[in-house]
Symmetry: D2
Subunit: 396 residues, 4 copies
């Protein structure tokens, strides 16, 4: 990416690189959604008599064709296009001429890109949610497999109370399902129709219908007033990133446990060989790299959230070019989370607990004994606690 600068490229090219930079590549995943939103916009224009039926037909046909070509990899958003929206319009005009130039009536790149982004997020969030549920299912399967395998329950990383593998796995499963619900709940902010707000101040002299595009794109509400649209840039994105950060945190903590459990000292689990790697100088090593990278990526996910929040911070109202920079951490976090959710089910399927190595410290039953004393002798818990403690101390 530094090439342009290394070679002393002409100024215009460097400015284009600085402004459109990696952004044009990021836009590739939005093309499909831009086509959806553009079709809906065109249909609305026709409905409002701002586009003839013939032009609509030509626009729709051309958009479908362009989308199909993109799907097949026949074209990509290029740096010279500046962004995906411009690329799309250029291709349209190339194909159907003047009619293509009619599509941009009543919209701006500001609402256009936001519509595409929210449609994309709707899909991405659903993929993330489903992926999280699959990981939770894998944990439940593990719990069933290891039905009665005991496990120390830790507090402060000290053996505290007796637990079991199903309780351990079930805790993570429950929290990951909670994250899946959290992802679904981002729908509230994602599903607001931005179309018709144009650059953020509506479309004076053009009577467009925001309700028409809302219905066609199945947005839950139309974002009102028009000035709210640009002001909300980054909020739905940040909520998706926040829920990803929570989910990755739960996964990172699961990884922490497994890395610990497969040390020689704990030796509670054996990781599937396909998910461990060797060393360049220590032939004996089987390292839990996949789990270390899950843990590490939980830090990356947090940084993505911070980046998105930081970009929007303190900006006066209205659109600013800064906001474009939110896409990079958003897509980065979605990708890393999807990949993590995909790699975990096969990894968890291969996790085997080594029951023979799992030793519960005898003192781990102290609280249960105190509880039993409470029930049996009717003494206050505090007294039972002291009695059990007195019995334990000398053995320390």
């Amino acid at each position: 990416m530094t090439r342009l600068w290394d070679k002393g490229a002409p100024l215009d090219e460097r400015v284009l690189q600085y402004t459109a930079g990696e952004d044009h590549a990021l836009d590739d995943r939005l093309v499909k959604y831009d086509v959806q939103a553009s079709s809906a916009h065109a249909e609305m224009l026709a409905q409002c008599r701002l586009l003839s039926a013939e032009d609509l037909a030509r626009i729709r046909a051309a958009l479908l064709e362009i989308a199909a070509l993109h799907e097949r990899g026949a074209w990509r958003v290029r740096l010279e296009d500046e962004d995906g929206q411009t690329a799309l319009e250029n291709l349209l005009v190339e194909r159907i001429g003047e009619a293509g130039g009619r599509l941009h009536a009543g919209r701006s790149r500001n609402d256009q890109v936001l519509a595409a982004l929210r449609l994309y997020l709707r899909d991405a969030v659903e993929q993330l949610r489903a992926g999280a549920v699959t990981v939770a299912d894998a944990l439940d399967a593990l719990a069933r497999r290891e039905g009665d395998t005991p496990l120390p329950g830790y507090t402060h990383l000290q053996q505290a109370m007796p637990s079991t593998v199903p309780l351990w796995a079930g805790g993570f499963s429950a929290e990951i399902r909670d994250d899946a619900e959290g992802l679904s709940s981002t729908h509230r902010r994602v599903s607001k129709n931005p179309l018709g707000s144009a650059a953020g101040y509506g479309t004076p002299n053009l009577a467009v219908s925001r309700e028409e595009t809302r219905k066609r794109l199945d947005f839950a509400t139309t974002q009102e007033p028009v000035t709210a649209v640009q002001l909300s840039r980054g909020k739905a994105e940040a909520q998706v990133l926040f829920e990803i950060a929570l989910l990755m945190q739960d996964l990172g903590r699961l990884a922490s446990d497994l890395i610990l459990y497969c040390t020689q000292e704990f030796a509670f689990v054996e990781l599937p060989e396909a998910f461990t790697t060797g060393s360049s100088i220590m032939p004996q090593k089987r390292n839990p790299d996949v789990f270390e990278l899950i843990r590490g990526r939980s830090a990356t996910a947090q940084a993505c959230l911070m980046e998105a929040l930081g970009v929007a911070a303190k900006l006066p109202s209205g659109y600013h070019r800064d906001l474009q920079l939110i896409k990079a951490p958003l897509f980065r976090a979605i990708d890393l989370c999807l990949q993590t959710l995909d790699i975990l089910p096969p990894a968890l399927a291969g996790v085997r607990f080594r029951r023979e190595h799992i030793k519960l410290d005898p003192s781990i039953h102290a609280a249960a004994e105190a509880n039993a004393l409470v029930v049996k002798e009717g003494i206050p818990f505090r007294e039972a606690y002291r009695r059990v403690a007195a019995k334990l101390t000398p053995t320390k």
Copy 2:
């Protein structure tokens, strides 16, 4: 706070200070909620025949008395108490002796503090939500007051399209109401009953009823399995912090606009005198300090979110003492947000737009003109755009 160290205090005291430090003071706001949760726990114990009716009566009476004394400021959680839960139990035992020692059966400080914290959060979130709505109402009142005051609509901070004060205020009002809804939605994670999970592994040999405490405390669900409870530490807290960060970001951006609008160069608004301050060397100054601090605190709020996420990151499952550190950024953010929400309505009530200074650049109507051409002449938007652009360029 550094006093202890400066004076070469004895080791035990320093360890106590390092571990219980500011935490004991933070616990003061939880006392009221700890009493609620403790009463519910006692009632459940009685229901499950783990506590006699007489002991329950004495515990409830004593708890109410202790709470009333705390409300009146007659006692505070002290450093020596280590934390609010211990303080409460000590006071109880002091008052009613052995019966007080029976209360801790079937619970641990881990689930006890979490119950108190979630009950507190339920109230705090409702206060924040109501405060946000009040700020939105103040913006709507401002919009009504300035019914037809024009305002340039900006993109890239350049005059772009005609707007109005109501559109400007309405955008913020809508987004702040969106934040209020966001705060409400944290209820899902806040309203899970942790009681009965004890240290995170349940209460072997003691048949407690988690459903009983859930009902009495009006939690929406009981968090299952017991291992999920400690694993979820920090998640509800982080979501509250996230929604606070979004709200503070919207308020910070509102502040950015007002700081800009009250420069001599814009001169669009006059801020209420009570909300501005003077200078120690420039007698003529009226500075928008309140708004600068709102903007600045939007950065603080983001850091509080990061702090909470960072504390929980990568920890193995089970309780760790680190988790106690989440309270400080949580309370800090709640307080700064409540104070900001409280200061804004009177501040906004005094904001006056200086219509005589608000100048719309003539070029601001270019998009509207292009739109009119589209409608009138039926030409494509792109052609209308080029025509209007051609007319404008020479005057630049």
Copy 3:
């Protein structure tokens, strides 16, 4: 802190609370340094014939007296004072009347508070540096104590190569000394004289000497031009916070090791009893709370850095009230780091390695064996590696 709002306090008081809030309390630690800087400023004024010798004498005497009273706790910066600078000037005028009013010639609160802050930072950084060295010394003492205690060397938390306690402790000691140097290196940004820049634009019509105050306060350079001073707000602070974050990260990682080593499964170390705490329901527990809180506070330290960077971000040049908010995370991080540095030496002095439990996996010598083969047989390392690996695999 929310009291004011709860009770429906009058507006002025609430604005004061919102703007001066916790800030006035933070200023207490700056009083001593403000007195230093104010004395130097007065001497410079006298030198430049902007203050008579008599007035100088009275100002100096009064400042010393005020400082001594503050040192004894006889006064504190109060909310009504708004900030420490105002408090100081008010006390001065109270004592010596008109002469006190002459002190503010040629300065503003902007350069005044910055001078006090940098003088404070110079001391605080030196305290931090010395504290870090003391911790490194404690690690070196531990290394000497445990002269030949073996320890597995880990990579990926898997036993990898033979190591020793001195190597383990020595690595941390070296890095903590590196952090101590890092703290010293903040001197470059801390030691710039801000005095004479006043509000950020110098002192027109008043010929002050910036070199005079620089010499008297032993700043390394005078920050030029005057506009750089306010622009640099937060930079020295952020560098101190960055170095604290690195140091706390090293200490947090040391804590991670010790928490791991004192699990029942590793059982490599015994922590000193004074540094562990018990449980409210599990009488057998000895929890490594101090080390958990060190680890947790490494996350807090990072958040303090982020907060300071976030507050200054994107602000136009010149002073803004937002910048005052940097003090809170700065002091918070300094305090938590000093306390951590103070608690560690006695804690480390009591750490005992349990040699009898430290088991090196036989495979840990594989790399050394491969190395020996290289030397003995002159074969390439890659072949030696394969030979040792072949021998190991079946035993897995």
Copy 4:
């Protein structure tokens, strides 16, 4: 990047993608430095009689050839190579057989990659430093060009004191030079020789000389003890990221000023046309996109720092695979900063101040007047202040 998953790729490939992912591509920029470090390592081995003169000659020749081919783009690190270090060794063995297999004696990928990374950082930091100086020079040139153009000096974004364009530009220039020095000072942590630490525990049975590689690679010191090397992973990187964050913050604040100054309301500056962009619906617009993106990227730079700190946080000592994830934010921040430093000098060269629009509020001279009164009448500043204030108030 999500392709693999979309297509249901086989497990091994997905694990490889998850672990080596974007990392192999990031390693491309390290190849040149890995070759340097590998040559120095080979020379040291020969010196220590662990490699014959012939093998050394063949290794050096092959390394040079491989580097030249890489420079010409004839090969790239591929996903199948896993990382750049493995790619290099494979190419070497391909070319010179057994001799290539002798190179890895006495080193591990852990110290190998760190050596390459530090050599790279040494160059990158120098490029960043030089770039910062060039921007400062451009600001100084602007100051000379606009020799006596007046400018209001702002505090709280209110006109406060008279200033000039040279004072404004000079403040930024000074702070950017300060950042350049800050970048240079990272040398202390960057210039530590990691070679000879191997996986982090030295090279038992192989008497390598760490001093030999230090000298050949011109590192300032050898990092001792060997365990410090992996413990320090991320620290030099974080310091570089911190200094980049400060520099980007200064540049972002410069951008904030220019964005403000080129509003229609301020109208203080005209930006060069090549650095502004148009609008898709408002033909009249000239938007300061380059400056908005500089401001936005100052937020990205902060997030890169947080990401690097977050990845290393809380890890036990020794190498962990997580640490590999530091490269991505490190390279991202270096690239964005270099590009920003490259785009600014031509941008600043085209900035023209519109002297005719720069209006200083008459009250801006109030402090100077008060100062004059102090000198002329010998009255205390506080009295002069009150007098000037009294005169001003009615005109408000």
